[in-house]
Symmetry: C2
Subunit: 181 residues, 2 copies
């Protein structure tokens, strides 16, 4: 266990893109709606404190003339190492079943932090896992079709279609990366 939460990794990734204050990070979450992370100060400031306590980010007070002092956070070498280790985690079935959105967040940061070659490898793993998972879901529907209400079945089918769409997305994204090589 790394002891870093999903929010923690999201913060690390954004700070890695460019140094930012807690307020800036909050704005990113409110305005871009990337992922479903909280923009509440009660989540972000303590999370930054934890990261700083582990030496993964460093906050330096910035006094740009008039306004209240901002703490601008920068990622440390240790922070970058931990962040890259997170990005490099293999794509597991568990991730596909429970945290697809988290995988997409990881992928979003990948090009910049690890380079296109790794992004391509990620997509291949992603596609493979989704390919394996879809038939499982289809079998489940086939087996339980009789006992399900219409809305129950439709909801499940929406989920399956979602995986099919992500698989197509992964394949066309793989093609984009391969064309670039």
């Amino acid at each position: 266990m790394t002891g870093i939460t999903q929010l923690g990794f999201a913060l690390l990734g954004l700070i890695n893109q460019q140094p930012m204050s807690g307020y800036d990070l909050r704005k990113v979450f409110t305005t871009t709606a990337l992922g479903s992370y909280s923009d509440s100060p009660g989540a972000i400031y303590p999370a930054l404190k934890r990261l700083a306590g582990r030496g993964l980010v460093r906050g330096s007070v910035e006094k740009t003339g008039a306004l209240r002092t901002r703490r601008v956070f920068t990622i440390t070498p240790a922070g970058l190492t931990a962040f890259k280790a997170w990005l490099k985690r293999p794509v597991t079935r568990q991730d596909i079943v429970r945290n697809v959105d988290d995988l997409l967040l990881r992928f979003a940061f990948m090009d910049q932090a690890l380079g296109a070659r790794h992004s391509l490898r990620f997509l291949e793993q992603f596609a493979e896992q989704v390919v394996n998972y879809i038939p499982e879901l289809r079998e489940f529907v086939a087996a339980h079709r009789a006992e399900m209400s219409v809305s129950g079945r439709l909801a499940l089918e929406c989920g399956i279609e979602g995986y099919r769409q992500r698989l197509e997305w992964a394949r066309s994204s793989i093609a984009i990366y391969q064309r670039r090589k």
Copy 2:
């Protein structure tokens, strides 16, 4: 605020379909992977206790001969009222942005608890909100395209395609309900 968590509503919905023990509920979460709810006893048993404490479910000890006593939970009239109120909540932009999966869970229970007419209304609200949200995302990509990495842009596009797919799903589901009338 109702003070009932997402997990709480999921449990209420399943118990409403048919009375079940904590162990049965855990199995549902492990085997069906509907939503991303925990199958850990440390989540489910306390949640059931809270529901029982509020009088939303009632647990009765069942002694089917040999095995250890099971507590089978049944939904109470108050529980059913609270559950239906949850299902009837309007579909907001917030739900679309942050909790699409929770909306799908609500929809899955809808036919049985409220009838097809309400499911249809839900789908119409859902489609409307998604229709409004997609252009926002497209504009965001258009505005930030230059600053984004390839994987960053692709991740966002995967999200947008996901909404497009759900919109199509909602429309074809609406058609299914209308044909039935």
